[in-house]
């Protein structure tokens, strides 16, 4: 399940709703992303998250479907906010529920890594020196690459 919204969310209430009546769930892993008060060493006043309505939902749904295809999840939830946010505000929630913890941990990590490189959101940071669009990080691309399906192993010539 995915949601894109301006409003804040309550992680505890979301997890409770996700697992209510689900006695097949053995564990839930949650990731909550927050706005930091520092951006590249400089004080951050606020940020505005722009998104592409329609495509954002479509891409998040595709990522969520992929997580459910790869891991035996009982339930999953991604909530991503847009609009103006201040340090300490929640930006994103990823929650994955599974009979066993390994699938929940891996799927949660996969979802946040992939959405960072696929979902059309852009951060505009407001600092002392004015407003600045955040640049994509190579480390985020590397984190997402870890989850790419491994290519079929080529026959080793030495064997």
């Amino acid at each position: 399940m995915i949601r894109v919204q301006r409003e804040d969310f309550d992680p505890g209430a979301e997890v409770a709703a996700l697992t209510r009546g689900r006695h097949d769930v053995g564990g839930v892993v949650t990731f909550v992303g927050l706005v930091r008060d520092l951006a590249e060493g400089k004080a951050l006043g606020a940020m505005t998250l722009e998104h592409y309505p329609g495509m954002t939902e479509k891409q998040l749904r595709a990522i969520d479907d992929e997580a459910n295809r790869r891991w035996p999840l009982a339930a999953s939830l991604v909530i991503h906010r847009y609009g103006r946010l201040e340090p300490g505000d929640r930006i994103v929630l990823v929650a994955t529920a599974s009979p066993h913890r390994d699938a929940a941990f891996d799927a949660c990590r996969f979802l946040i890594d992939w959405l960072k490189t696929q979902a059309p959101f852009w951060k505009l940071e407001e600092g002392e020196a004015g407003a600045k669009w955040v640049e994509a990080k190579a480390s985020d691309d590397a984190a997402a690459l870890r989850w790419q399906a491994k290519p079929a192993k080529k026959p080793d010539a030495a064997e």
Partner: protein, 83 residues
């Protein structure tokens, strides 16, 4: 055809959306970019370095050789920075 711009592409171009009629001979994303670059200095600046520009057609990521239809919604934006 609806063409949308996001983040710094939108601020460089100066607005969020254009409606463009594809002239004969413009068939793919690359052709549309050449057409847009000629619309003014803001467009040329926004579309200078294609390594920093992502393209989506009808909400899916595409490459520069993707063929366009008049009913398509095309979007140009920088690499994403959500999460």
């Amino acid at each position: 055809m609806k063409v949308l711009y996001f983040a710094w592409l939108r601020t460089r171009i100066g607005h969020a959306e254009d409606t463009i009629e594809l002239p004969k001979g413009v068939e793919d994303v690359r052709g549309l970019i050449d057409l847009l670059r000629a619309q003014g200095p803001g467009y040329a600046l926004a579309l200078t370095d294609l390594a920093t520009v992502k393209v989506a057609v009808n909400h899916e990521y595409v490459g520069l050789d993707h063929k366009l239809k008049p009913s398509d919604e095309v979007a140009f934006f920088p690499p994403v920075t959500g999460g």
